[in-house]
Symmetry: D2
Subunit: 359 residues, 4 copies
């Protein structure tokens, strides 16, 4: 049953009949149940958000309660097993823990290669680097665009790491698709619905960060946008929400990890870097996320953060990243997970083998 319409104590027969008729008119099957004190009308079928809002306004209606979730394709009910993606031969999701690392922005070929090599050696499996940077100030560095994408592609090939980069404009989906292996949808674009529709038309994995004040349901609805276009390769990422707290840049909502996993089948990552905003706090948050059961983390690393053009204060130094990776590996095992050991036999590129959603 999709909705339950609870009538007011004083609702009259006309009110009940009006609701029953309207439920039917909305394409749902009405199931009225006249109790001693209240009448309750179940409405079965494909509910739309409009239907709920419309029924709420009818005379005699006290409340309309949604019983089922508003997302379908993202739901565990629809797809019970964890979705395990195959990204250039790397398994992502479920017990496979992957660490995405690299600099915030692609500033230069040198830095990207230096940092990329370091994070790969430490055990990261996917390389990050921003070419299009959404910045709150129009006067800030906004990334190197296509030139950055070329550097990223080159680094990914040389280091044999799949690459991820942010896309902020539906007009750039084509070019990003050409150069990178995964799309990142940033927190500020989580509800840029046309952008979600565009990446949903590609076959590249889409890594969606939770908006600063997005509820869990809203994040899943954004995933639904991508899934509804036929692209089932979606990863969700908790990256800190905005609260009254001002000691960290954002507040990492670590409970989002188990909550998302209970409700949906997609891989769930965390972003300790943006949540913390300060490098000293990144390891504690990264470990917390892995201990809570995340399938991975995305970590910003820079070899010379005091000269970084973007978010230097939150970038971890390469040697500290290596120490962190060791702890991540150990904690992952305690919770029954395992860090993807890039290059080992069991995770050699084997796109062909991937089945189901991860294909």
């Amino acid at each position: 049953m999709d909705m339950i319409v609870v009538m007011k104590a004083g609702a009259i027969d006309d009110d009940v009949n009006r609701v029953v008729d309207r439920v039917a008119e909305l394409g749902l099957v009405p199931h009225p149940s006249r109790g001693e004190f209240r009448t309750i009308i179940g409405a079965i079928g494909e509910r739309t958000p409009e239907a709920q809002q419309q029924l709420e306004q009818l005379p005699g209606v006290d409340e309309v309660m949604a019983i089922s979730q508003p997302y379908k394709l993202a739901s565990r009910e629809f797809h019970e097993a964890d979705t395990i993606l195959d990204i250039a031969g790397i398994r992502v999701g479920g017990p496979h823990v992957n660490i995405i690392a690299g600099p915030c922005a692609i500033e230069s070929r040198e830095i990207l290669f230096e940092v990329g090599r370091a994070v790969k050696d430490a055990g990261a499996s996917i390389l990050r680097g921003g070419a299009f940077k959404p910045r709150s100030s129009p006067y800030s560095f906004k990334g190197r665009g296509k030139e950055g994408l070329e550097i990223l592609q080159e680094a990914g090939r040389e280091l044999e790491m799949p690459t991820i980069t942010e896309v902020v404009d539906p007009r750039d989906v084509g070019v990003v698709n050409e150069y990178a292996d995964m799309f990142q949808i940033g927190a500020r674009n989580m509800q840029n619905f046309n952008l979600l529709l565009e990446v949903g038309k590609t076959d590249k994995p889409v890594f969606i960060k939770r908006g600063l004040s997005a509820t869990i349901t809203e994040l899943l609805m954004s995933a639904e946008y991508v899934l509804s276009q036929g692209n089932h390769r979606v990863i969700l990422c908790e990256r800190g929400i905005r609260t009254f707290g001002n000691e960290t840049r954002f507040t990492l909502d670590v409970s989002a990890v188990p909550v998302l996993q209970e409700r949906c089948h997609l891989p769930v990552f965390i972003d300790p870097s943006h949540a913390a905003g300060k490098r000293d706090l990144v390891p504690a948050l990264a470990l917390a996320g892995i201990a809570a059961g995340a399938s991975g983390a995305i970590v910003e690393v820079h070899s010379c953060p005091e000269r970084a053009l973007c978010d230097g204060p939150q970038a971890v130094l390469p040697n500290n990243f290596a120490k962190l990776m060791e702890q991540i590996k150990q904690i992952a095992e305690i919770v029954g997970h395992r860090v993807t050991p890039w290059g080992r036999e069991d995770t050699q590129p084997r796109r062909a083998a991937a089945g189901g959603w991860g294909g």
Copy 2:
């Protein structure tokens, strides 16, 4: 002075010299002042967000404090007087109070004309109606697109009201520019920076709604994006922020009105409809905003809200809107403002007369 670098109590000369050199390297003029207990270094000039982040990370630095605001063109320091826009002959901003009203979405020609006529008769001066609706669910009604824009243009012409409609995609800026008189940037797109840049390249007024969890500074930085492109016709709108409160859809931050007015010269509006989420609460919030000094409000009105395809529960009925307008007019006068009396002599269309930013 743009920034103050406060050194730690134990900072040594080398630390201080390193900061001084770096301030200079960043294109700013360093002004060190060695106090008895702490050394403080002023940094004068055009600060970038990067510069602050980079200085913070240098050894011996305790804190880097920004003295000036990160926005310029939006600032009262830059433009002391209230910006009064001229929109098709209507004065908007400062003491001129304008009410924008109409249905949430343009559902049909009939409804838009019916509602439009009603709100004009009641005293609204600008007609709203959505053709591109950002919806959290991919399964919701998303507006009638270009067809909707055509209806809106027709209604605006017939009713002699300027029109406003939301644009959600940089690719649609051209078509919206063709049909509507004002761009609305919705809360979820407040930091869709490429969209802001696109509307900044037009000469149509841009009505920017505050994001669900955007700070006042972030809202002003988004205005700065538009202003920086040469379009100085920007209006800001408080529309409710996301808090722990769950009795209303969002929490109207009425203090945003005086805070924005103190910091910036642009007209400030409020949106009681989205903040409330329930029509019964709309009048109280609308009056609160006008009493707090807002230059206007944007109110959703529908003649048959229980059949509305979008946000029916928050739409006010036409007759209640008329009553609300009466109270708005009276309250505006008490705070030294005046509701723009569309059609009266002193506000007859006179584009030519408009000067300054409002031109």
Copy 3:
């Protein structure tokens, strides 16, 4: 009906029977309704919070929805008309708008008398002044205690104004009851339940400020604590909630005014001073609250705020307070209210005449 237990789609008969039995065991009357797809069990009677939590955990239960509110005595359902209190002859509540004003803390006899006289002349009807100040720092001025109460009582008598002062400790209820006319329960003590029980045992009006992060329901439950002890003279006050916003000390939730008025019969005030934290913003917030329909405001006024021992930055100067009062009077009338004109015939002390709750 108090609760609706919605069973899961797959719930079996045993699950349903177990719930039915448990509902009965909890002293409620079960009303099962076996629908085609789901079974729903109404539970009628005096619900306790425990009952809901316990039912939620039973096998086969999907959700337990509370239909009625958890408060009773505070509810509009229980007492439909606005409660109008009679406080030393002043009518408080409903359309009677009263302004409580005075310094934050009682610092000296001179300042309290000077400010008191000024606010009375301007039209305030109740005098405020803190003798016990809850301060976040143990090193801050904490008020003058009993000595302060004596000064307050003296000022109230000389100025012929009822007085209000904060009580922070159940052990002080006796002494405050002796000297002041109204108890103020501060935001930080809104859930100091033993303190609520103590003031509930007196017959003095209790002015309860909403906690920094208290929901509307929680505020009403705190009122219920006082009401449940037999003291029905309760006033509620919205004073700003804690959000991510950092431009004001707190965020005035002006929508709390109509929401509380819809749900409950008690007078609703606002506190623009603590919400704003800066005197320049106080008038806008005060007017917003009155325009939204509040039955009054509590405003901090100081004749020399730059030497105040507590919250000087938010204290309004006496002459600005007088200007604000003029606007408050006008706005109150527009929304059908009226500022209590202390000393006029129709509000002469007449305790005897007061009936009902306000007696």
Copy 4:
């Protein structure tokens, strides 16, 4: 230096001199530094919150920045090493990880003993149980009071576990001190300052939970209240803050753990039970907190939670608690900590040996 007063660009000499004089009058040493564009005045000495507020209001002042923290005794600067408490022979703080467990409320002797035995066997070192329950509803079960304390004491003795229980009223500090080994100050009483002062006068450890919307600084100021009375045995606990999130009862701010540890020397615990509100989420949050470096957790366990009189939905079953303890032990070791192995040689009760703050 305690504060930096930044003068406005247009401040004149008189403004500067007035500030300098006032700084001296406030008992601080002024250090003016007239820069080319701005004058900055350092103010050295024991700052009070009042002093900062008063200086802010002087003419020509742009901003007053606090350089040092407002707490002293709680600060790392004051006491660099981790405080390790000795509680009945158990070491608490720093690398010693202790798990406090037991039912929410002491409902009966049977349940407390049953749960106590189970959690002790699983490795918990301290027994919890509430005798005075702060409840948002006056109609809820509020604990068994003194009778509950007697049962708790008996259980602690029989199980050889120190006990912790909440105190909510300054009048109850004496009786709680008599029966329990540790005071718990609940989130709703974090700023019940008189209660803090009372427990500060005892010599029992005080476990302070962070308020629902308390900042880190406010939590430390509440600790300062206890410390300032001479009781240095304070433990801090992050228990979830109130945010817009509604999937969990509160949002566990796991970053509070490293932030508090950086700023202060006191042991930091987490409360996964109240944060989650649902037992299924408790393990993930508990592990996250331990991975983030917490010195312990407080976990609610119940043998029959569907009949619990308080917070049953968040109580973990004994067998699941035992599994959780195994993971906690392993994760603690990975981050260099160690779960206190109650009963082992190196932690045998040895009150005499305790030195420093923990004495």
